[in-house]
Amino acid sequence: MLIQHIENQSNYARIPGGEGIWVFVFGDLVVFSLLFSVFLFHRFEDIPVFLESRNQLNFSFGLINTLVLLVSSWSVAEAVRSYRNQNIDRFLLLIKFSITLGAVFCVIKFFEYSAKIDSGLTLVTNDFFMFYYIMTGIHLFHVLIGMAALLWVHTTVAHHGFTASRTAVVEASGVFWHMVDLLWIILFSLLYLLP
């Protein structure tokens, strides 16, 4: 029964974006899972310091960034659909929108970092802020890579239009951007929300 189900599925099932991007995505997910675990391990060692430090984060910035990335992720998903439907104008518009939201995320993060550093809260203040800067810093680096990938896809499609062979590349950049979004969802809950 199960084998038949798998065989039936394999007739139309696929790997969105191709195998390569998923190898990369799973590598990243494993590294971040390890970071999340180590963060919670150290949190248990010094709960009062972690709670006090968490209260010093700007909750509004975190929430706005979460909503910004959710909308940008939706926008990229719609853009990929538009590309497949050969609606290039809509695709370009949605990708531009997603890149803009990515830029908004970076600007908010810049203000958040600036405010923390001005208050004397740096990488060496305590374990919480060490994890905060490392995890959000690596994530921010991913956001920048994702924006660059989306910009490259936008430029290429704008110049050459729809090509069936390029669908996998468009999907791969989308998969990467969604990974950036899902990592932030977990980071937000661990750093800003966890009581």
């Binding site: 999340f36 992720s73 439907n85 809950s189 009581p195």
Partner: protein, 100 residues
């Protein structure tokens, strides 16, 4: 025409998923109070926060990353990772590994 309708439906699905994700975000930032596990004193609030986040991740993976249309192995790997994390994070939170 039918094909066009199907495309429109899929788009509505993505909008619906976005709305659910936003509502879950609002829910996770607004849950207060101390719900304890069988009066054991262990607050369930942190677990709700973590599991809501992982449920949101699951929605992103299934609908935005289109894993639900993907091959069986991909579905297994992503679901496996999510289940693994939904156990690992609470276990780490409770300090299970700090005992060793």
């Amino acid at each position: 025409m039918n094909h066009m309708n199907q495309q429109f439906e899929l788009s509505k699905t993505l909008i619906l998923i976005l709305i659910v994700l936003v509502l879950l975000t609002v829910l996770s930032v607004n849950i207060y109070g101390e719900v304890t596990w069988l009066d054991s004193g262990i607050s369930l609030l942190p677990f709700f926060v973590m599991w809501i986040a992982l449920f949101k991740v699951g929605l992103v993976v299934q609908y935005f990353m289109e894993v639900r249309e993907g091959v069986f192995l991909l579905k297994c790997l992503t679901t496996g990772w999510l289940l693994f994390l939904s156990v690992l994070l609470p276990v780490c939170y409770l300090g299970f590994f700090n005992r060793f």
